[in-house]
């Protein structure tokens, strides 16, 4: 096959060798590690008595299990403190650069990699975290791996994987007002389902994608894992090149110009073939919110909770279980549903643009007294930038406080947990049962929707959004999206 997609070009250029069953020994340019999925990998290296093969290609940060208040104080919970200090010791013993708690470059792994210029177009990027797909926004092949694979990368700078198939998702046109990259992601996942992308690597393209900022592109690629895709990427363009130009670790001057030449070659050939293709119109995409217990159970914010029974009276057990867990009823309007917590943050929506959006909406208004809000910047640099722009002041006047960076209520490993039965509107990426704490109930939404809800205390249709009677999504036939297992699906 001579015509290639961007994904093919990057993957093929990193193939060290191919096994007879078509698995690739794939060379990894950039490897990120954090405290939760790396300790067992370092133990493995010690038991084998081997060193890290290319320590300069790995960077570490503490993010998943850190407090978001008083980070200068010792961590009180012993298991968490031990996990953080194990990361520090491992990085020191094996010569790996670490941005530990309090470091000026510390933050969520998928926020700091891009903002430091450690992720660049054309790279292969991995991390023991499924949302590594975020880095695909730069035109990189980026995907999450397990701890055994973290050990493989540490020991050899390679992973051993089957090459996924190509999928194209093209979105053309202009997004309606208040519709953000997060809404686009939820809309696409609601159409394809949480397993719709399994075995595939997605290229997002079309005019609606090209006009997105880097932050928006990162939000979209971040969520590609939620439709089961191995990862998602976007062709690098002027927006990308400008964004990386002056970043700390990005190439400078002549090196930058040389790199630019190579980055511009990262295009999908016009006659390249995709295994699957989906087309959407930007104008059709509404402000979205999830009502259920996976990211595919999303509907327009103007819509009602789906019925448990279809026209023939057959019960949808998934809808039934999700309604029960969420304490919602068929036909109930999402708008007006009360919330108890609001979380702005995570690697999906914890960047400076997200804080700006949130601040723009809450400026001059007051947080609902019934809502507990956690505003958690994705990194130290995001926090500093927010302070420099006066966002912290705007938030404070409106009754919100800025916390310190970390994953926080996205996965609730630290003390930022939503209590049982409480409702949280959240800019994170997963609404699984108990994700934000045992018994917690999550509504995934954009920073815009989260800001409105934090002010009113309930799910609110952003201004100027005109609800249309037929704005409910047609329910996709789930069986049409579940391919029979076929040999080429095996990774």
């Amino acid at each position: 096959m001579s015509s290639k997609t961007i994904f093919d070009k990057i993957w093929d250029a990193h193939e060290v060798s191919t096994l007879e069953d078509r698995s690739s020994v794939l060379y990894i340019d950039r490897h990120y590690i954090h405290e939760v999925t790396s300790p067992q990998a370092f133990d493995g290296l010690r038991q084998r008595e081997v060193s890290v093969f290319r320590p300069e290609r790995t960077f570490g940060t503490a993010d998943h299990n850190v407090p978001t208040l008083n980070q200068h104080l010792p961590i009180s919970e012993p298991a968490s403190a031990a996990q953080i200090s194990t990361l520090s010791k491992n990085c020191e013993d094996f010569g790996i650069s670490l941005f530990e708690l309090g470091h000026e470059w510390n933050g969520i792994v998928h926020v700091i990699g891009p903002e430091l210029g450690l992720t660049l177009p054309g790279m292969t990027v991995v991390c023991g975290d499924s949302h590594t797909s975020t880095h695909g926004a730069f035109g990189a092949v980026a995907f999450g791996i397990g701890t055994s694979e973290v050990e493989m990368v540490l020991a050899s700078q390679c992973v051993l994987q089957r090459k996924p198939k190509n999928m194209k998702i093209e979105i053309n046109g202009q997004l309606p007002k208040n519709v953000t990259a997060k809404d686009v992601a939820l809309y696409v996942i609601s159409k394809l389902g949480t397993g719709g992308g399994t075995g595939h690597f997605v290229e997002f393209c079309g005019s609606a994608i090209r006009s997105m900022s880097m932050e928006g592109r990162m939000t979209l690629c971040n969520m590609s894992i939620e439709m089961g895709a191995r990862g998602g990427l976007i062709q690098p363009d002027e927006t990308t090149f400008e964004y990386v130009r002056d970043l700390k670790f990005a190439p400078k001057e002549e090196d930058y110009n040389n790199s630019l030449e190579k980055w511009k070659m990262l295009t999908t050939d016009p006659d390249a073939e995709f295994h699957d293709e989906y087309f959407f119109k930007a104008e059709d995409i509404p402000v979205m919110i999830t009502w259920g217990t996976n990211p595919g159970l999303a509907i327009p914010v103007t819509a009602n909770v789906p019925e448990v029974k279809d026209e023939n009276g057959a019960v949808d057990v998934e809808v039934q279980a999700a309604q029960e867990y969420m304490g919602l009823t068929s036909g109930q309007a999402m708008a007006g549903q009360k919330i108890d917590y609001a979380f702005l943050g995570s690697c999906t929506n914890g960047r400076i643009e997200d804080l700006r959006e949130f601040a723009r909406i809450v400026e001059g208004k007051q947080k609902s007294p019934d809502v507990i809000a956690w505003i958690v910047p994705g990194s130290q640099q995001v926090l500093k930038q927010a302070q420099a722009e006066g966002i912290d002041q705007i938030l404070e006047k409106a009754g919100f406080g800025l916390r310190e960076p970390g994953c926080s209520a996205c996965l609730a490993m630290n003390e930022d947990k939503v209590p049982e039965g409480k409702y949280c509107i959240s800019t994170s990426n997963r609404n699984f049962e108990g994700r934000q704490g045992p018994g917690s109930r999550t509504f995934l939404a954009s920073p815009v929707s989260t800001a409105y809800a934090a002010i009113t205390g309930k799910i609110t249709i952003p201004d100027s959004l005109i609800p249309t009677p037929d704005s409910r999504l047609p329910t996709p036939d789930p069986d049409s999206l579940i391919p029979n297992p076929d040999p080429s699906h095996v990774i």
Binding site: S23, T37, Q83, G434
Partner: protein
Amino acid sequence: MSFKPINKFNSPAILLPVDNIDTDQIIPARFLKATTREGFGEHLFTGWRYDKNGNPNPDFILNKEIPKAEILLAGHNFGCGSSREHAAWSLHDYGFKVVMARGFADIFRNNAMNNGILPIDIPNQYYSKIVSMIQENPDQRILISLECELVEIANSNIAFPIVISSFRKQCLMEGTDLVDYLIQQHEIIATFENKR
């Protein structure tokens, strides 16, 4: 790390016929603070298995009187969500060596195989039938031969192939450790680096 080689099974299956079982259900984040691989089986399916006071939920399958089984049987898209290998460790630690499902999330599939767990795709046409057979008879045996790449539902005419790459099959049957394999490739990898 290396694991025990696997090949043949003759076991009942524990039935969890739910679609999209995510890694937060298999093992929630609050149990990921350990820095070793052991002991995660205790927390497998915690949210479903125990009530909020930590008492076993009598309605959950693992708390019922069921035959001992090495096989877990689930619905579509098993293991979606996080990349946490703790999901595979907790299943293995609990005693599951095979997960049969109507499809798996990609990262989970790799994590399973890297820990000596065989993921088997159940063809759509057999899924409901197998589920109801096990519901009727929890002792229903399932015969698996990785070597012959075959699954048979005992005393029935249902049989289907295991779809697996030859390399992965060999690794599982021999308990091969891929880290060791890649370390042996150091010279080839260094040559690749020099040519870039």
